[in-house]
């Protein structure tokens, strides 16, 4: 946690130095203030995990702000990945509180940071959400989807000609239909992934998928992850592409359709999986190369 705090301070200092030199943020560039969600969910650190999960599940969001202890201090954050890790660890969510799982001193950025800066922080530190904090209060939360959506809408996606195959993960992991949610969460947690395929080998049929979001919904409903089966919690929506389709097409589909993952298939079956994080990493790499 100390490392996170240090990284945060370093980033803030870097932004400040840049601003003093008149380099950052870029004048007239879109800032995260323009794309952030201001309608944020705030939960208290004493709330139980199922209660916090229920609020996130109802709004179908993957992260909530945890109220800071004192005014002007940085807020905390709890995400669906924290809930997934909790289920994976074998702990009983109903006996845990937000305080047991959340990340205090969340990674924050000032509101006038550029989308490019936010994207770089997200990819280098592996965050899907950043808290927008002006030094006194939390103004909003910005996600990978917000940034990709804005770039896509304005036709400013870097690396327009890049193919999905260059960004996707080819090491696709699958769980069984009969696995319990606990087993599936544990397998996903061990590999540090947020989604797994289900029955990928069924010839000619679109494979199923389960993600951290489905685990969150189940915890929110107060279900027992030791008895609930993957078969009853498959992601209701998923989409597919071929490896040589363009990354910009995938970005547009993910931001418009709200997909966190795209399953990449070819004539031989599943070729890979493209997550929002893979997409962002590739876009940042392309923009650096340009």
């Amino acid at each position: 946690m100390a490392a996170l705090g240090d990284a945060n301070k370093l980033l803030q200092a870097r932004l400040l130095r840049g601003r003093e030199r008149g380099i950052m943020p870029i004048q007239n560039a879109v800032s995260i203030r323009d794309v952030m969600s201001t309608d944020i969910l705030t939960v208290g650190s004493e709330e139980t995990i199922p209660e916090a999960a229920r609020q996130m599940s109802e709004r179908n969001i993957g992260a909530a702000i945890v109220e800071p202890e004192t005014h002007r201090s940085r807020p905390g954050i709890i995400t669906e990945r924290d809930v997934l890790d909790c289920v994976a660890s074998g702990r009983r969510a109903e006996y845990l509180h937000v305080a047991d799982l959340f990340t205090p001193d969340a990674m924050t950025l000032p509101p006038d940071s550029s989308l490019q800066q936010a994207a770089k922080v997200m990819t280098s530190d592996g965050f899907r959400h950043l808290v927008v904090f002006d030094g006194e209060e939390t103004l909003g939360i910005v996600s990978i989807r917000d940034i990709v959506g804005r770039w896509s809408k304005e036709g400013q996606l870097p690396g327009l000609g890049t193919q999905i195959r260059e960004a996707m993960t080819t090491d696709v992991f699958a769980v069984e239909l009969e696995d319990t949610l606990r087993e599936a969460a544990r397998k996903m947690g061990e590999r540090g992934i947020g989604a797994a395929m289900v029955e990928p080998g069924k010839e000619g049929r679109p494979p199923g998928m389960i993600s951290a979001r489905e685990i969150l919904h189940s915890v929110a409903a107060g279900e027992d992850p030791d008895t609930e089966r993957v078969a009853d919690h498959l992601a209701p929506r998923r989409t597919f592409s071929a490896p040589d389709w363009s990354l910009s097409q995938a970005a547009e589909a993910m931001s418009k359709g709200g997909f966190q993952h795209i399953v990449v298939v070819d004539m031989n079956g599943i070729a890979g999986i493209l997550s929002m994080r893979d997409l962002m990493r590739s876009l940042v790499r392309s923009s650096t190369d340009q």
Partner: protein, 163 residues
């Protein structure tokens, strides 16, 4: 009415055959590296996000069989173009070479000035001059095959001295 239907049917068949000939030509130009990506390929790879968002099952089907589906779609357009050519006046269709060249250039222009800007395909990849030349050449091939077939189907024009 029957005559029109027969003309349309003939046009559809000729259009399909001419599009198939284009496919063969494109296999060669793509294989030689002159063309990186054919226009029907570009459309499906770059401009079908709606398919992914609204019709994921169809996206799955297309992604697994795209090589065949892209060609089928191209033949389908080719058939439509053949039917349209068949409805041109006899006087035009009789001039097989000029009508073929003209129609080939026309279909190239429809693609370049209509489909490319509408779908924004030019944003993704700069088309090299050699690719442009190859696209024009295979549309000319399409036009010539279509026109020559149509000319052969027309009744022989009697010479003035036979009247």
């Amino acid at each position: 009415m029957d005559g029109v239907r027969r003309r349309l049917a003939r046009g559809l068949v000729r259009g399909t055959v001419a599009a198939m000939a284009m496919t063969g030509g494109r296999q060669v130009t793509t294989g030689l590296g002159l063309v990186e990506q054919t226009p029907p390929d570009a459309i499906i790879k770059q401009r079908a996000p709606g398919l992914l968002v609204r019709m994921p099952r169809l996206a799955f089907f297309v992604a697994r069989r795209q090589a065949a589906l892209v060609e089928l779609a191209h033949w389908f357009y080719g058939a439509g173009g053949g039917a349209a050519f068949a409805m041109l006046p006899d006087s035009v269709r009789r001039r097989s070479v000029w009508a073929g060249i003209g129609y080939g250039l026309f279909t190239t222009l429809v693609f370049e000035l209509g489909i490319v800007p509408i779908l924004g395909l030019d944003k993704f990849k700069k088309i090299r001059p050699i690719e442009q030349l190859m696209f024009t050449a295979d549309h000319l091939l399409y036009g010539l095959i279509l026109a020559e077939g149509e000319k052969r189907a027309l009744p022989e024009k009697r010479g003035r001295w036979l009247r």
